[in-house]
């Protein structure tokens, strides 16, 4: 499989992806026309409120959408040269856990309570044992990877309920890294953990990423976490990427989508004298509606009549992209 990845810099490229959930009487537009590229060795953060479609995007990459309701309507997810969207289940299984791994939000429930943790890590290796490791070698790999995530290999016969939350998440990470994947998708991996444990786990992930030369997609709603580990940031709103840029573009640049400004206005700053946070008023639009204009229009303080009628395009300046009528291709007016 390794020869597929000939394009040196881009490991994953998503083009105009649309994902819907359909049941008897409703159709939910979860992901609407997303374009993203993930570069080799970089960490891309996807930030946004709950319900913005971040997890759906991740599940689309893994092809883990609920089979009866979720479907990719159109678009491409190019992993190297192959388009994952058209891949059959058997080929997808070769990729899952091997070339692309995912860790989930809640470590408490992500591990099987009736199987000891060593076995669960071993399973990952055995499922993708391409270089025909012997049993002994596999066991050695398990010990190695447990040590790597900071857990004593002697504890591999223990069951998940005997570990704390932070340790469980380390085991989940160990499982995801067992086959040294090229891409790791982390869906809010630290949200369920204490702040101190959060920092430990984040540090560990950053180090492991460098060691394995992985790319990472980091899904979060915590802008503080983003600042710590990410190279690139995509801001997601109502199923769309409304701003995309390097860490410097987003945290340093002067021009932002009004929603991104709102997000940063919602973070307390201990240096500032302001007494109140400025939360964004209102709620995300109903995902069952098809919206003609800008999806953020109803909540936007700079909304013009025009915004409700015409859907904004992606306007780019260098690496920075903003999907808002306030900006123009090539020049961001207020920069």
């Amino acid at each position: 499989m390794s020869e597929i990845n000939c394009d040196i810099n881009t490991v994953l490229e998503i083009e105009n992806l649309n994902v819907e959930y359909v049941n008897q009487n409703t159709r939910i537009y979860a992901v609407n026309g997303v374009n993203i590229t993930l570069k080799k060795g970089k960490t891309l953060a996807i930030v946004g409120e709950t319900g913005a479609g971040k997890t759906t995007l991740a599940y689309s990459i893994m092809q883990l959408l609920p089979s009866r309701t979720g479907r990719i309507k159109n678009g491409k997810i190019k992993f190297g040269k192959i388009d994952i969207v058209n891949l059959d289940e058997d080929s997808m299984r070769v990729i899952r856990g091997n070339l692309i791994s995912m860790i989930f939000q809640d470590p408490m429930t992500s591990l099987n309570p009736t199987i000891n943790v060593g076995m669960q890590i071993k399973e990952s290796i055995e499922l993708h044992n391409n270089d025909k490791k012997s049993k002994k070698q596999i066991n050695e790999s398990v010990d190695e990877i447990l040590t790597l995530v900071g857990i004593n290999p002697e504890r591999k016969d223990d069951y998940p309920h005997q570990f704390s939350g932070g340790m469980k998440q380390r085991i989940v990470i160990a499982m995801a890294l067992a086959c040294s994947p090229q891409i790791l998708i982390a869906d809010e991996p630290t949200t369920a953990l204490d702040v101190t444990i959060q920092a430990q786990v984040l540090n560990m992930m950053t180090i492991l990423k460098k060691q394995n030369d992985m790319s990472m997609i980091f899904i979060t709603h915590d802008l503080g976490v983003v600042a710590k580990i990410c190279d690139e940031v995509a801001v997601m709103y109502s199923g769309e990427i409304i701003e995309f840029g390097t860490f410097e573009d987003i945290y340093g640049g002067k021009s932002h989508h009004p929603y991104t400004d709102g997000l940063f206005g919602s973070i307390p700053d201990i240096k500032s004298d302001e007494k109140w946070l400025k939360p964004i008023q209102g709620l995300m639009p109903d995902p069952t509606l098809k919206i003609k204009g800008c999806r953020f229009a109803e909540r936007c303080s700079k909304c013009m009549d025009f915004c409700r009628e015409v859907h904004p395009k992606e306007y780019k300046v260098g690496s920075h992209m903003i999907r808002c009528h306030l900006f123009k291709q090539g020049i961001f007016s207020n920069e």
Binding site: M62, L64, R68, R93, V94, I95, R96, G97, N98, S101, M102, F104, D106, T109, S110, L111, N112, P113, T114, I115, N116, E123, S124, L127, H128, Y159, H161, Q162, V172, M175, A176
Partner: protein, 308 residues
């Protein structure tokens, strides 16, 4: 392990005493007229009164209970009013047959119901699943005694494949076991299906999928154990119903066992036999529950770690 078993056996003792008390209380609510039962219509009023006094019929309930308990401890469950034989002798020889029938029917139930439930759940929303769901509820709605007769009509009288009653070969046991198992299969497979659907929604199944496990591996390696635990519980507690069912089934198919004895005793108001056999069946049920707890420990590490 051994410590666990000893502790559980010791904990059974007060429950057994309570069980004996409940059964004793219920069968002695009304003092009755055992003298008349023993002697029949022929006995004179004087003789009847004499026997009643000998049996302590007018003693307070609690004293009668203590006396009965004293007997039970040394293995004396009283004497049958009708045959004048020791109750223990009368039932203990035939009891293993009944127990065996109930155990085999339970095993057969598990063998069929668990796979059916799992297949049904993994093929959710298919025609096969719908058929299994409806027919399992249908099976669970058939009273055993009627099922037995219908089976006899079809397989013995019409097709002539299987004997109607009696013993001798394995063939004689096919219909009785089917009678006991079919409704239980209906009930258990529904439960297994529901649990399986629940388990398949768990996060750890999603984790396994993300690892690249096949559907087969997910079901057998990750889901099965978590489905077996509730299935064993249902089978264990269902054993009580299997014992009751075995009694009626034995009667219908003319199998040896305590079925005929218990039913006759109930009809003739032969209290010592009813009392003794109910206690014996209850205790055997408790032993099955104990066995179930031990199986639990083998399946579920969360429980196992507490005791080893």
């Amino acid at each position: 392990m051994l410590k666990f078993i000893i502790r559980r056996v010791l904990a059974m003792i007060p429950t057994i005493l309570l069980v004996i008390f409940i059964v004793f209380f219920i069968t002695n609510i009304i003092p009755g007229d055992p003298g008349r039962t023993i002697l029949g219509i022929k006995g004179s009023a004087k003789e009847v009164a004499l026997i009643n006094e000998e049996l302590g019929i007018d003693d307070p309930l609690l004293i009668k209970y203590v006396n009965y308990l004293k007997g039970v401890i040394v293995g004396d469950f009283g004497t049958s009013y009708i045959s004048r034989v020791s109750v223990l002798d009368e039932i203990s020889k035939k009891f293993p047959e009944t127990f065996k029938l109930a155990v085999i029917a339970t095993v057969v139930t598990a063998i069929f119901a668990i796979p059916i439930g799992i297949i049904s759940a993994t093929k959710q929303h298919s025609l096969l699943d719908a058929t299994i769901v409806i027919s399992s509820l249908g099976l669970a709605s058939i009273p055993g005694f009627w099922l037995a007769i219908v089976l006899i009509m079809i397989f013995s009288l019409n097709l002539g494949w299987l004997p109607t009653s009696g013993i001798g070969s394995i063939k004689h046991y096919i219909l009785p076991i089917a009678t006991l198992s079919l409704p239980a299969i209906g009930f258990l497979s529904r439960m297994v299906r529901a649990t399986m659907l629940e388990v398949l929604l768990q996060d750890y199944i999603r984790t396994a999928k993300a690892k690249g496990a096949t559907r087969r591996q997910i079901i057998f390696k990750h889901a099965l154990k978590n489905v077996l635990i509730p299935a064993v519980t249902i089978l264990g507690f269902g054993f009580s119903g299997m014992l009751s069912g075995a009694i009626i089934t034995e009667m219908i198919f003319g199998l040896p066992g305590i079925g005929q004895i218990v039913l006759n005793a109930v009809r003739m108001n032969n209290v010592p036999v009813v009392l003794g056999s109910t206690i014996l069946l209850s205790v055997s049920f408790m032993l099955v529950i104990l066995a179930m707890d031990i199986i639990y420990m083998l399946i579920d590490p969360r429980i196992r770690k507490q005791y080893i």
